[in-house]
Amino acid sequence: MDMILSSLPSLASGAWLTLQLVALSLALGLLLSVGVALARLSGSVLLRAPAVAFIFLFRSTPLLVQIFLIFYGAGQFVAVRDSFLWPVLREPYWCAIIALTLNNAAYTGEILRGGIQAVSFGQIEAARALGMHRLLLFRRIVLPQAFRQILPAYGNEMIQMVQATSLASTITLMELTGAARAVASRSFQPVEMFVIAGLFYLAMNFAIAQAVRWGEKRLAHAG
């Protein structure tokens, strides 16, 4: 019991780091995914082809490879080490955020594409007939409806992201899984540490699931 109590501070700081990774990479990933989805749906091949390639590459390779390529791989090149990017790419924290963001943007971009395509064409025609410009139309008509449509799928993606942050521990970040493992390897009660960490992950997922359910209710059609 003493062992468990004394391990709580390091587990708590791990949990805090996990929360940061989740929040930052979800926020950045969501922003990027709007661009990815729009490029993917664009009429121009110059925009569409890179988006298709990006989605394909990031969804067909494991996240761990992506993290290692960015963290270990980028530093191999002198050009990268001499560039202004190096202070960022040298930090495991930012490498984890970059990898998680790109991975999340690929999955969310594909989900969002489906949502945008599901917005009925009559609405877009009506908005055009009212004289809305493309940007206003996208912001007021398409995006809100697309977002409502994808909310359940996006909720699952958020929960996958919470779990994906555990891979940051492989590049020395002491987030929740890394912290639990560090405590476990020097204590005689390894199992308890992982159970506590697991309970925290379950609590986070529960919070996300509740938030999604609340959001679905709020965004539902009136009547």
Partner: protein, 236 residues
Amino acid sequence: MLDLLSYGATGWGDELLQGAGMTLLVAVLAYLIGLGAGCLTAAAKLSGPLPLRWLAATYTTVVRGVPALLVIWLLFYGGSGLVGWMAGLFGYGGRVELSAFAVGVASVGLVSGAYAAEVIRGAVQAVPKGQLEAARALGMHRLLILRRILAPQALRYALPGLGNVWQMTLKDTTLVSVVSLAELMRQAYVASGTTRQPFLFYLVAALIYLVITTLSETGFRALSRRADRGVRRATA
């Protein structure tokens, strides 16, 4: 650069290929375990007695809610204790050590099973009840109904989901590299540490994973087409 990837004592080509073989072995074994566990769990959820139903619900909720990496660490540190305790029940008193391979297959299989269970449960529920009632009315036994009516149709509904579970299982095997099992990620890690060419080796590893995932997607699509034969489609 190419000689680094060559086959033989000087290059890392053979090590990487062996790693890819180990990755496939772990993935296939874990997936088979997952399918077995998934079927049993789905059966428990759909028609088991209440305690079994709770057990199944707890399994799928907890395992799908925590990172696969956490499951691997849990089994790595706690697995030998658990197996040793179970061996003790059968009168074996010695120490049990689990290999990295056993830990990897068991933990990735455990995760795979939780996701497969949900896919299979949904697929079984998608088979119209009337068909099962009709089969029973014709006097078929339960096993015959399962084999002739339920399984072939549920399989068709389950295939896309099971394809996703396979892709996830394959990607989860990369995490087993943390317990030093010599699969593809681990071999790429060792190679890039020795040669100081991390970008090259992780890129090659990524390409190998890309080939495996793309080929298996084609395979699952072919399976789906075969399972769909005889199903009438509205053509546009």
